[in-house]
Amino acid sequence: MAKKLMKGNEAIAQAAINAGATHFFGYPITPQSELIEFMAREMPKVGACFLQAESEVAASYMVYGAAGAGARVITSTSSPGLALKQEGLTYMVSAELPAVIVNISRGGPGLGNILPQQGDYFMCTRGGGNGDYYHPCFAPASVQECADLIVEAFDIADEYRMPVLVLGDGMIGQMMEPVEIPEYKKYVPNKPWAADGNHIARGVHNRINAMDLAADVLEAKNNKIQAKLKEISEKYVKYESIDVEDADLVLVAYGTPSRACKNVLKKAKEEGLKVGLIRPISLYPFPKVAFDKINPKCKAILAVEQSCGQMIEDVRLSVLGKYPVEFFGRTGGNPIIPEQVFEKVKNILGGTK
């Protein structure tokens, strides 16, 4: 498809359809409504199924049912809705079902507000439901990346039979940018494990189940999930890194705040300060390796988040005390303002060049 201007929400929806998504189940919530509306309008045109569920909980289980039956399935929501979907998510991890979940995050805690915020980092990267698991989580910072990551998320989900989450903040969902969506490809499932009612031909009945009563069986399942995650952690680390090799200070930011940080880099350069940027694209697996390349004489790392500080924990785990880790954050939907971040940078560097 030719490049065109689209909102992030619309690009995600179109990319999912073009990736051959056969099913969408969701529940309306701002600021992801354009996404579900786009799906309602466009999915029937390619013979795909759009269904509005009675709740996010039900939507997550419709995804579970369709994924188990061999569909290429996606659901989208925003923060409080993702909290409700965690039940289905942990079941999908346990039952080894592939699906794509989109969270266009908003302000919290509680009902919060509908403005952009990054307060869902833990919920999205730590395995937000019960039990011992993680799942891949990718965070686009441009509308193009929204489209690209959705397509890849489907493939990774299928490869590992695991839900994959794409986390955008409200701003990426709402903003427009030029984007090229990959061409439409009809999805041809090849899922011999699916419980699709072909047990006679198959000669064995398939079971989609998130329960294992025997200790050893459940431990084996946990080990299998961990083994998959280990492989994903080696294969799908994604990040952007700018000028970290000789930086005196490195910013770390994901999603749209990383764009404000790019403005900061520009200002820093103008004033002769050596500031680098690490932008994690995969939040799970977190790109620890990116921190190995930082200038050993770097004075500090500055985590910039639209939250009270969540990703900063992964930053600390990545540098393991090698550098002091500072924090700049705004909440409530207040944007990250480059000038304010730059002030903080100058304070940390003490005016030295």
Binding site: L5, I114, M175, T256, P338
Partner: protein, 177 residues
């Protein structure tokens, strides 16, 4: 080049549309563009605004708190965003609606009697197109021709009848400055 512009006004004045048209026209000229709306309860009935960035290199923040240009379509927008104009920047005021004057002296201010001009053309809702024409002419962010082409592409079928009056409004706006 890097142009950052905030367009603000009442919901219904077509401010998001003006922003989108700058973005689309810039896009059609092969530039990098972003358009980011303010969204939230304020979009329903209150003030609406959007940030547009047009650049020939990668764009950082899409959400602006200060800008090279501000287009203010109503008084609350003037009050809110006059201070957001960068030193030496440009402020476009819809003087059909806003009777106050700008207070800043370190920026260029353009008073555009947009609604009156649009009404004379017979396109009562075209005030936003008039001010868009003035903005494009003064800043050169996007060419008038790009805007005309965009109008032609936007209004097709049943709506093709709106092409001429919208182009006339853009043209009239450009001639005011």
């Amino acid at each position: 080049m890097l142009e950052q512009v905030i367009v603000a006004g009442f919901g219904g004045q077509g401010v998001l549309r003006v922003g989108q048209m700058i973005a689309y026209a810039g896009f059609s000229e092969g530039k990098e563009v972003t358009w980011a709306p303010s969204y939230g309860p304020e979009m329903r009935g209150g003030t609406a605004n959007c940030s547009v960035v047009v650049s020939d290199s990668e764009i950082g923040s899409a959400q602006l708190l200060e800008a090279d240009s501000v287009i203010a379509m109503n008084l609350p927008s003037l009050h809110k965003f006059e201070s957001a104009v960068l030193k030496g920047g440009k402020l476009f005021i819809n003087s059909s609606v806003i009777k106050e004057k700008a207070t800043r002296t370190d920026i260029s201010v353009y008073y555009i009697d947009a609604n009156t001009v649009a009404e004379k053309i017979g396109n009562a809702k075209g005030g936003n197109m008039v001010i868009l024409g003035a903005y494009a002419k003064v800043t050169g962010t996007v060419s008038l021709d790009s805007l005309y082409e965009l109008v032609k592409k936007t209004f097709t079928g049943d709506k093709a009848k709106f092409v001429d009056s919208n182009i006339a409004c853009i043209k009239a706006g450009a001639e005011l400055v």
